[in-house]
């Protein structure tokens, strides 16, 4: 929203004492955010009112006119111009030598086909006061020749752009008068009342009916006739332009001006085009309606509309209809100044896809108490231009949902608690009074009455009053006070720490890169591989890629396709949410992309990593078992489930060739997934110290011959079954492969109670050998 400081100045007493360039810093930290400050007119200099005394065709170039201009003070200059709307006696703005216009940084005397041109005539666009470039401005004949143009046209101004979003909760600031009220409070100045016309004699009623009393809070209107003037004042036109609106006609400009001034949207119907007024809801009916921008629109159900006896004539609070629009011939109008329910307007505007300056304001919950004031102000401004208008009716006013001043109690100790220190009664009253709040001071509390324009939604709680006090007091004037010491230890859910530790360990251990992938699948990828995720949770208002993932590894795979263009061996990982209809879980996924020839190494590296991650975090033993995971992209030949306490907490596997080949011909992808929630819920095991035997132990190595495709796990199952009180443990020592797989196991033999004799040791080792051979393994002798 744009704010013209020229307009603000009119509402504040002693406004010449306010620095309108710098007051906005205070405004920003006390009221709302500023998007920009622009000084208008700085690039327009030395432009005077000039009179065309003589107009002749240029002798050698018929495109040009040669003008003799009276520039006042008995001086005449010659100007060559190609404009076509010139005539003798016309008053024009002329930039003199050394002056400047928009697009001309310095006017100099130039020779045009033999004639010296000593100035430049300006259009409205060149003065920066409209987009019109139709011709040289035809100035009002009352202007005095030789005077600076800025004396008559308020070209110089400071225009502020206020961030609309920061006004979401301040319906009172959606117009210049509200902003002026705020500036007056900040600067300690007095806000002046608006001049209005209050002598309406007519008692003629207008036939108005409000049927939907829920969504129409107030409907006020009046009929004004005998309108003869067509154009707004130059001053108003410039203001509208500076506030980013287009000047259209006197009546339209006036309604817009009122909206910019008071924040009250208004609408003018051509009186002869409508017959009585009914405010009602379209209900279930679906209709088409052409708005005054010429567009035919499908009106959604339950839209509040203004109708006459026969047809709708406006969409309430959003836009009027073409059928009742005022035009050049309008002499009598019905002026509407109404207040509609914010939610209803918002809903309709969204459904229509039509957001207007009016609807934006209604959505903020405007104060219904200003509708009549706005009408009286409109009449006053119209009369200033068109003094012979007639007020044909009384002001018709149906006020269905009255907004009263909110009264809020503020306890003094509550205020102190929020501020962190005590404010005296005078400071509190001064601040609230400057904002036009009434305050009654009691021993332990204040009874605060908010004006109606702050009572529509903004001021309800004592915390709201505290905000008013604190912001005007100035947040920069508040002390900084540390929190009181609190020695309660609370751990939170530990999930963050676990996730961070896991990520850091992986990056350090493997050299892999953490990435982030989206919560949804690329539908295209699913289709390509025929992966069915139709039962997953879906996002209903997302156009494409709207299936939420229940499996992170697939999202990471998608990233591998991209990364494999630049790297052949690398790893990526992510901890993210996987979501099913039943639950949301945090899952760690790791993908290690490698050459086929390195598959075994890379696989074992991941296996080792998984072991370390869990045991280092929880000191729990991890077991790996062969398993089948139901995922289309995995090659289950290599799948191991990760077991802790008989519960599967993840897996390690290798991607199916069909998928891995996307990353390269000789490329394989090792994949591991861990359920972070399950790791989180594992109880950390204490280390149980076992004192080593005081007696010597003996180690014996046996090399066992296995078939090449036989798995160590099978051998391990066999060895595990053997129990002997003197066999302390056994460990894999070496694997050597030639025509067979030769696995060396180191057995540790000993006792806690005595030193074993040679014979005892021999006996144990014989039994081990016997057990191994009984299970169909042979031993290298």
């Amino acid at each position: 929203m744009y704010i013209s400081c020229n307009v603000l100045k009119k509402y504040i007493k002693d406004s010449d004492k306010i620095d309108f360039l710098n007051v906005w810093n205070d405004f920003t930290i006390r009221s709302a955010e500023i998007d920009g400050i622009e000084e208008k007119g700085k690039d327009i200099n030395n432009v005077v009112v000039a009179k065309i005394v003589k107009l002749e065709k240029h002798k050698s170039n018929e495109k040009y006119n040669v003008l003799t201009l009276d520039i006042g003070y008995r001086k005449e200059i010659t100007v060559v111009s190609s404009a076509t709307n010139l005539y003798e006696g016309m008053l024009v703005p002329c930039a003199l030598q050394g002056g400047s216009l928009k697009g001309i940084s310095e006017v100099v005397s130039i020779n045009l086909d033999g004639v010296e041109s000593q100035g430049v005539l300006a259009s409205e666009r060149e003065l920066g006061i409209s987009d019109s470039h139709l011709g040289v401005m035809d100035l009002d004949k009352s202007y005095i020749v030789g005077e600076d143009i800025k004396k008559y046209i308020p070209i110089d101004d400071i225009v502020i752009e206020i961030d609309n979003k920061s006004l979401t909760n301040r319906p009172d600031m959606w117009g210049h008068y509200g902003i002026a009220r705020e500036i007056a409070a900040i600067t300690g100045k007095e806000l002046l009342p608006l001049e209005i016309f209050d002598n309406i004699d007519s008692t003629k009623p207008l036939n108005i009916k409000v049927e939907d009393t829920k969504n129409c809070n107030r409907y006020s209107c009046v009929e004004i006739g005998n309108i003869t003037k067509k154009e707004a004042t130059m001053e108003m036109k410039v203001m509208l332009y500076y506030c980013s609106m287009r000047s259209i006609s006197l009546l339209v400009d006036l309604t817009n001006y009122l909206m910019l001034e008071l924040g009250q949207p208004m609408h003018a119907f051509d009186s002869k085009k409508i017959n009585n007024i009914i405010v009602k809801n379209t209900g279930k009916e679906k209709i088409k309606f052409t708005t005054l921008d010429g567009e035919e629109r499908n009106i959604p159900e339950n839209t509040l509309m203004i109708c006459d006896e026969n047809r709708p004539v406006a969409i309430a609070g959003i836009m009027g209809g073409l059928n009742s629009e005022i035009d050049d011939d309008t002499e009598t109008l019905i002026l509407e100044s109404a207040n509609f329910d914010s939610a209803s307007v918002r809903k309709s505007a969204v459904a229509l896809g039509l957001r207007t300056e009016a609807s934006a304001r209604y959505e903020k919950s405007l104060d219904p108490n200003m509708t009549v004031l706005a009408i009286k102000r409109f009449i006053k401004l119209l009369m200033d231009v068109d003094e012979n208008i007639s007020i044909n009716s009384r002001i018709e006013d149906i006020y269905t949902n009255e907004v009263k001043e909110n009264v809020v109690e503020l306890k003094k100790d509550y205020l102190k608690k929020y501020m962190g220190f005590t404010l005296d009664d005078k400071t509190v009253c001064d601040i609230l009074n400057s904002l036009h709040f009434k305050v009654e001071v009691k021993d332990d509390k204040y009874i605060v009455t908010a004006p109606t324009y702050r009572s529509t939604k903004d001021i309800t709680y004592s915390a709201d009053i505290i905000e008013e006090i604190a912001r005007i007091y100035g947040y920069n004037n508040l002390k900084e006070v540390p929190l009181k010491l609190d020695l309660i230890v609370r751990e939170g859910d530990n999930k963050y720490d676990l996730e961070y530790n896991l990520k850091k360990s992986i990056a350090l251990d493997t050299g892999f890169s953490e990435i982030h992938t989206y919560l949804w699948y690329q539908t295209e990828l699913l289709n390509k591989y025929g992966i069915n995720k139709e039962d997953n949770v879906k996002i209903v208002n997302k156009k494409d890629n709207n299936i939420i993932r229940d499996d992170i590894s697939l999202s990471l795979f998608e990233q591998c396709i991209k990364n494999s263009k630049y790297y052949s061996e690398y790893g990526i990982f992510e901890i993210g949410s996987a979501i099913t209809k039943e639950k949301e879980e945090r899952v760690l996924s790791i993908l290690s992309v490698c050459f086929k020839s390195n598959l075994e190494d890379k696989y074992m590296e991941i296996k080792k990593l998984i072991y370390k991650l869990i045991s280092s975090n929880k000191n729990i033993d991890v077991k790996f078992k062969q398993y089948k995971i139901d995922k289309k992209y995995l090659n289950n030949e290599y799948t191991l489930a990760v077991f802790v306490n008989d519960d599967i907490i993840g897996y390690i596997s290798v991607f199916d060739r069909l998928f891995a080949k996307e990353c390269g011909k000789k490329i394989e992808i090792v994949n591991a997934e861990l359920n972070v929630e399950k790791i989180l819920n594992l109880n950390k095991q204490d280390i149980e110290y076992i004192e080593p035997s005081r007696y010597p132990v003996t180690t014996i190595d046996y090399t066992i011959i296995m078939d090449k495709d036989d798995l160590y796990n099978n051998l391990d199952e066999v060895l595990k079954k053997y129990n002997n009180e003197y066999l302390i443990d056994y460990k894999l020592y070496d694997v050597y492969i030639d025509d067979k797989k030769k696995v060396t196991i180191r057995f540790t033999i000993g006792s806690n109670n005595k030193t074993l004799t040679h014979d005892e040791i021999q006996e144990v080792s014989n039994k081990i050998l016997e057990h191994i051979e009984k299970n169909n393994y042979s031993i290298v002798k």
Partner: protein, 337 residues
């Protein structure tokens, strides 16, 4: 005799200094310290001297002997260490490349989390797919509230939302932990937005919340300033201005003096000299009430810091899409520290 010993000391010093191999050194050792060495002869011949001479010469002889012994020992160390240290591998090969990387978001999130932990905040988390109640109602955003379309929400077919902010964790924590509480919750959020260099539909925030008896705006200012000071490792100028969020009252926007231009005005700060960093405010009494905390007894404040934005500022990343691109060409650089 004195002169003889001095000469002996000098000769031994120069001889021992001149050898470089073990064998020659051993030979010299036997020459100067062996049974038939001069020093031993001197010591043997002392029995013919007077008591006073014995004292004097004996002391000197012992000194010279231990001097030569030391010399031999040092030389022996020198020779043997030279032998062991012969270069057999190239220790100048580079290291460091094998360290992996964390997402820039993870790095800044952890920096902020560490600061908050030091200040006594516990770190908690919440789901990315959130109940409508926690994302809106519990935060004083009823149905039809304009804030609901300000935040263009993704809705699921279960009637849930992808959380539009980390603030639902406030409501959840009030229910789980009650008051008093200091908590922070980093996490991922989603908005239904078209993606370009400055906009993402997926981004990270960290939420913070303090509730206790007598928590004031002055506390909020202190805590926020100190958090930022710690994060940016310098005294930065901050300002508080009104901001509207339904779940706080009063609500603030916290700005910091632009880190790029120092407040003079530049494109990053849209020429205002300030960067909008962190919405915050005193928790709305209704929000406390809905979290089963009595607003007459307790007050508190909450804040949200945009981690995605912070990471972009910190590493001067100018295209937000890089963060979710999954491209390790970019991401590899953010090595674990």
């Amino acid at each position: 005799m004195k002169e003889k010993l001095e000469l002996l000391k000098q000769n031994a010093t120069s001889d021992i200094n001149n050898v470089s191999d073990e064998q020659s050194l051993l030979r010299l050792k036997s020459t100067y310290l062996g049974k038939d060495s001069q020093i031993m002869q001197v010591m043997k011949s002392m029995k013919d001297l007077t008591i006073e001479e014995k004292k004097e010469i004996g002391k000197l002889a012992n000194e010279v002997k231990s001097f030569i012994e030391n010399l031999v020992k040092e030389k022996m160390n020198e020779i043997s260490s030279k032998k062991e240290n012969k270069r057999i591998f190239d220790n100048t090969l580079p290291v460091g490349d094998e360290i992996g990387s964390l997402s820039p978001i993870t790095i800044v999130a952890n920096e902020v989390a560490e600061v908050l932990k030091k200040m006594g905040f516990m770190i908690v988390s919440g789901p990315e797919m959130e109940k409508e109640y926690y994302n809106f109602e519990a935060l004083n955003i009823p149905k039809n509230h304009p804030a609901r379309d300000m935040q263009d929400t993704y809705w699921t077919n279960l009637g849930d939302v992808l959380r539009t902010h980390t603030s639902p964790v406030q409501a959840r924590s009030m229910e789980t932990y009650g008051a008093p509480i200091r908590m922070a919750a980093p996490g991922r959020c989603f908005r239904n937005e078209d993606i370009d260099a400055c906009h993402e539909n997926t981004f990270f925030q960290i939420e913070g919340m303090v509730i206790d008896k007598e928590v004031s705006i002055s506390n909020l200012i202190y805590v926020m300033k100190n958090i930022l000071k710690e994060i940016y490792k310098k005294d930065i100028e901050v300002r508080l201005r009104p901001g509207f969020f339904p779940f706080v009252e009063p609500g603030f926007e916290l700005d910091i003096k632009c880190l790029i231009c120092g407040g003079k005005g530049c494109p990053t700060c849209k020429n205002s000299g300030w960067l909008e960093l962190c919405p915050c405010g005193m928790i709305h009494p209704e929000v406390l009430r809905m979290g089963n905390i009595n607003p007459d007894e307790y007050s508190g404040f909450a804040f949200g810091i945009g981690l995605t934005r912070m990471a972009m500022m910190k590493y001067k990343i100018n295209d937000i899409r890089m963060l979710n691109s999954g491209e390790i060409r970019h991401l590899k650089q953010f090595k674990v520290k």
